[in-house]
């Protein structure tokens, strides 16, 4: 089935197609740049995956107005304590709670996502990364535990938007 002559002809067909494409590109005045091409669409920002950063680095985000923080833990844990001004977005959030949180988070240029652990936050971070293509998404390494351990600013109290807290 795969004779050598067949493979040669296959290579010749595919190679001539590719070669013709390069030839057309060479003579085309409106051709795209092969070496410096960058995507102009909204998917550009999502070519990298969310990066994990440690608590001390993440604390530097608090002074920035373009940053919002998402807490992916359960309502109970959020009520017990969370990073100041964090938006509650548990990974099983649905309906109005999710849409309100996503609406708020969509305004940020940078998002810091945390959970009980990096692993828990990574699923929500990945989906936020896909949803908000132009937003940089970071994961708090070690989760809320690492933040607490570093003695950084926390707040407590229920999530205002979450029905289950009322």
């Amino acid at each position: 089935m795969f004779s050598l002559s067949l493979l040669w002809r296959l290579a010749l067909l595919l190679g001539s197609g590719a070669g013709l494409g390069l030839l057309v590109h060479a003579v085309r005045p409106d051709g795209l740049s092969l070496r410096e091409f960058s995507t102009p669409t909204s998917c550009e920002g999502s070519s990298s995956t969310p990066v994990e950063i440690d608590a001390t680095t993440a604390a530097g985000f608090c002074a920035r107005t373009d940053v919002l923080i998402a807490d992916t833990r359960s309502s109970e844990h959020y009520a017990e304590g969370h990073i100041a001004d964090a938006v509650h977005l548990p990974c099983d959030a649905q309906g109005q709670v999710a849409s309100e949180a996503l609406k708020k988070l969509g305004q940020a240029q940078t998002l810091l996502v945390y959970g009980e652990s990096s692993e828990q936050a990574s699923h929500v971070a990945a989906s936020l990364h896909q949803r908000f293509a132009h937003t940089s998404v970071f994961i708090l390494k070690g989760g809320f535990e690492a933040w607490m351990h570093a003695g950084l600013a926390c707040a407590s109290g229920p999530c205002d938007e979450c029905q289950e807290h009322k």
Partner: protein
């Protein structure tokens, strides 16, 4: 053999149509490819080379005979298999991306299971036309 002939002509028409549309706007096609997050660095090169390759394979499916015809069918199989893998990985990784299968005529709808199934079907047709080759054209065509 008539089924194989219809499969081959259908695949050829599809490749010519898709290749021509992609050739019209290589920048848009490169963007579509990059959005797949599947070797994005290759996007501009693929955007330049793929449309003409589709055209060459499409023409070869129409005009070649004897020893070149299986090679053209195999080339179509290689192309459709590659497209299927790209579409399937985007679908299963939940990447919200437009197919870009027909250049500017692809619409803005995201890849769905139907897109994956369609590509698998086209790959199957290409495989069929390769393993069960028809004569170039029945005698009544001449």
């Amino acid at each position: 053999m008539i089924i194989s002939l219809i499969a081959r002509l259908g695949i050829a028409a599809l490749l010519l149509y898709a290749g021509a549309l992609k050739l019209l706007d290589p920048t848009a096609f490169a963007t579509d490819i990059a959005n797949y997050h599947f070797f994005p660095a290759l996007a501009p090169w693929l955007a330049v080379c793929l449309p003409t390759t589709e055209l060459v394979v499409g023409i070869a499916l129409l005009v070649t005979r004897n020893t070149w015809l299986p090679a053209a069918s195999l080339a179509a199989t290689v192309l459709f298999s590659t497209f299927t893998i790209a579409v399937a990985q985007a679908y299963f990784r939940h990447i919200n991306v437009s197919c870009g299968c027909f250049g500017s005529d692809s619409g803005s709808d995201a890849i769905s299971l139907a897109t994956v199934v369609r590509n698998i079907g086209l790959t199957a047709l290409a495989v069929f036309s390769w393993v069960r080759p028809s004569r170039p054209y029945p005698s009544s065509f001449h």
